[in-house]
């Protein structure tokens, strides 16, 4: 009968598996197909927030490359694109960051240039960059305005609260009573006009809102207008400043000023619109408002602060560690297991209690006296657990500890290096008279946060053939760490 060997069957399966794997890799990796060989081009953007590596680069919606890397250079974002080798980019090609899809993925849109004489080559640079509707600049502008407002209100409050201001306040109050009376008449006579003005303002702010939230194309233009407006406003505030300065000087100008009907009306209007602005800010409307009232910012700040204080506390706190260590003795092919709890009330002092399971077992020595002759017998209890109970103190990089080691008296010395990542240990215990002291030397290295690898030599002057090199793994948690591990393991996406 025709039979195929295991080797051949396995070979066929491996071959089929690899073919399927290659096919799937090819299909899935197809997006980047041919791009590896393409050429790279640099673009500087002011802001690439949301753009990821490997994001698509498109012309007219057709993918022609990928974002290879994003780096910071001279305060700007340097984005390196890898463009398919068949694509030619004219020198005046224009780059912009756009958003698409329900998920709002960012990609780079290139608008082909007209200068078909010169193309960009490997390592070249796209100079035409369509700046994003620059929300940040708007924010900056508004921050300046907020500063000014603060100055004005600050000045006002100092005027109103000051000792010397009291008299003038009385004056002002008296004046304002007159003023409001006058104002009333003014308002009554000009009611229609005022209403129209208010309506206009409302519409204006509405439009502004629309513009900001929709982030539509005219944004840039609006910003330009806004900048003009804010400059204007700045000037207004400057003059307001002047006014309050002079009020402060207490030259009685205030009274005069306020008696001037026209001026009074203007001031009132200014104050009203100011209140409007601050109200909106308070309600979280508009960008500044958002910024100030944004819970996330506050939360972030809070978190930062609590994190810091926790960190500071932790250093001073009482700490406990839980560790497990397994040591595989090469010569006897057996394993020793250690389970320890380390309590560290102060940075340089600790206690260890723990259990050891030793394949060698626990030794008990019995003296039996028969007819005046004493015989000493050793018994090995293989199921017995041994105990660790030690006290230790740390001086810089050296730890000295002593107490019960594997259920006998002993001492240990640790030396730490590489920021405590590497530990050399020497232990001596079991000083019983009838056999050589149990000596043990080891080096332990911290592989990951909680995982340590060790190599050592156990009982290396044994006269009973128990010496053996060993390799061990240990896992060590701080009780806090355990808590963290349980609560902060990232939830897979």
């Amino acid at each position: 009968m025709f039979s195929i060997s295991s080797e051949a069957k396995v070979g066929i399966f491996v071959l089929i598996g690899l073919i399927i794997l290659a096919y799937m890799s090819f299909q899935v990796g197809q997006r980047g197909f041919g791009l590896k060989k393409g050429y790279s081009v640099d673009v500087f953007f002011n802001n690439v927030a949301g753009l990821e590596r490997d994001a698509s680069v498109q012309i007219a919606g057709v993918e022609i490359g990928r974002v290879e890397s994003i780096a910071l250079k001279d305060g700007k974002a340097l984005v390196t694109l890898r463009i398919g080798k068949d694509i030619k980019l004219a020198r005046d090609v224009k780059a912009a960051i756009k958003t698409h899809g329900i998920l709002g993925d960012k990609y780079i849109e290139l608008v082909p240039g007209k200068d078909e004489e010169i193309y960009i080559h490997e390592g070249g640079r796209i100079i035409n960059v369509e700046s994003q509707a620059d929300l940040d600049r708007l924010l900056n502008q508004l921050a300046f305005i907020a500063d000014d407002i603060k100055k004005v209100t600050g000045a006002l409050s100092s005027v109103l609260a000051g000792d010397e201001g009291e008299a003038s306040i009385k004056d002002i109050l008296e004046n304002s009573r007159q003023l409001t009376r006058n104002l009333n008449t003014v308002v009554k006579s000009n009611e229609a006009t005022l209403r129209a003005v208010l309506e206009n303002t409302r519409q204006l702010t509405e439009n502004l809102n629309n513009v900001v939230t929709k982030n539509d194309e005219k944004m840039a233009q609006t910003i330009e207008n806004l900048r003009g407006a804010s400059e204007q406003m700045e000037k207004t505030f400057a003059s307001l400043n002047d006014i309050t300065e002079s009020i402060k000087k207490g030259e009685g100008t205030a009274g005069r000023l306020i008696k001037d009907k026209d001026m009074a009306v203007k001031l009132d209007q200014a104050i009203d619109s100011l209140r409007d602005v601050t109200d909106k800010i308070n309600q979280g409307k508009g960008t500044i408002g958002k910024l100030i009232n944004d819970e996330e910012t506050v939360n972030n700040l809070n978190e930062g602060l609590t994190g810091l204080s926790r960190y500071i506390n932790k250093a001073e706190q009482f700490r406990t560690f839980l560790s497990y260590r397994g040591e595989y003795l090469f010569d006897s092919s057996e394993a020793k297991n250690y389970l320890d709890i380390k309590i560290q009330p102060k940075q340089d002092k600790f206690y260890i209690v723990g259990l050891v399971s030793d394949p060698q077992g626990k030794k008990t020595i019995r003296d039996t006296t028969v007819a005046g002759v004493t015989t000493r017998t050793e018994e090995w209890d293989r199921d017995g657990l041994l105990f660790n109970a030690q006290i230790g103190k740390r001086y810089k990089d050296i730890v000295i500890r002593g107490g019960l080691l594997e259920s006998t008296g002993g001492v240990g010395l640790d030396y730490f290096a590489l920021n405590d990542k590497l530990k050399f240990t020497f232990e001596a215990f079991d000083f019983s008279a009838d056999e050589k002291t149990h000596l043990k030397a080891a080096a332990e290295y911290q592989l990951f946060k909680h995982l340590y690898l060790s190599f050592g030599w156990d009982d290396f002057i044994s006269d009973k053939g128990q010496e053996s090199p060993y390799a061990g793994i240990s896992i060590r948690f701080e009780d806090d760490d355990l808590k963290y591990l349980l609560t902060t393991t990232p939830i897979p996406k």
């Binding site: 090469f330 010569d331 006897s332 092919s333 090995w380 293989r382 009973k464 053939g465 128990q466 053996s468």
Partner: protein, 248 residues
């Protein structure tokens, strides 16, 4: 020489060996007898280091094997051949592969040589033409003989037989007895045999050791054993129900 000194062994609460001492001389056939469940197989496993004593030492040519590491123990084990009570054939391998196993592991032989040695060893235990059978296709007696062939394949210095003739017909029993005697003579091997078959025992043994109550209570030549006045041995040899050995 095999020397067991003050061996204690218990499984949980069951004390099987209790301070046992025994010296087995080289180049002789030593038979261990004792009641069923008395610890004979356990004793044999101590000799080859499969079980470690709770207390005591096992010396093979003056080396204490209870304290050896894997590597050194394996070096010593290469001197040994062992037949398990239940044969312990690898049931994923054919008869031929079973017998060839020690050869492939430790002897550098060509395929042709291996086939020849396997056929020869099988023939010496009275089996031919079953090389390609699987152990599950064999009878109990046949399996035991394949196990025997495997145990002596490497011509070991020390051979341990755990009940080699139990379950064989009288003719086959005689043939296996002869094989043990021949093996001992040809290789000048040390043979330790566990057996319940009194007739065979007196025929082939140079020394007999009686295991009772976790210790060797009598050790001597067949004649000395036969002449022993120890009531346990008298009862064991006569097979009577009355006596110090209690059935329950």
């Amino acid at each position: 020489m095999i020397e067991l000194i003050d061996i204690h062994k218990s499984f949980k609460k069951n004390k099987v060996l209790n301070g046992l001492n025994l010296k087995i001389d080289s180049g002789l056939i030593t038979v261990i007898i004792g009641r069923s469940g008395g610890g004979k197989s356990v004793l044999l496993k101590h000799i080859i280091g499969l079980l470690k004593p709770d207390r005591g030492r096992v010396l093979i040519d003056d080396t204490d094997i209870t304290r050896l590491n894997d590597r050194d123990l394996n070096t010593i084990r290469k001197k040994f051949g062992m037949l398990f009570q239940e044969a312990a054939l690898f049931d994923s391998m054919t008869v031929k592969e079973n017998v060839a196993f020690p050869l492939r592991e430790h002897a550098k032989m060509s395929e042709v040589e291996i086939s020849r040695v396997v056929a020869e060893k099988l023939k010496s235990v009275g089996l031919t033409g079953i090389e390609d059978k699987m152990p599950s296709e064999l009878s109990g007696g046949m399996r035991k003989r394949v196990g025997l062939a495997r145990a002596i394949a490497l011509q070991p210095e020390i051979v341990l037989f755990d009940e080699p003739t139990t379950g064989l017909d009288p003719v086959m029993t005689e043939a296996i007895n002869q094989l043990i005697v021949d093996t001992q003579k040809n290789l000048n091997a040390t043979c330790v045999v566990i057996s319940h078959d009194l007739e065979s025992i007196f025929k082939i043994s140079h020394k007999i050791a009686m295991l009772y109550d976790g210790d060797i209570i009598e050790y001597g030549t067949p004649d000395e054993i036969r002449a022993s006045k120890n009531p346990v041995i008298e009862q064991f040899l006569s097979g009577s129900i009355e006596g110090p050995i209690k059935i329950i």
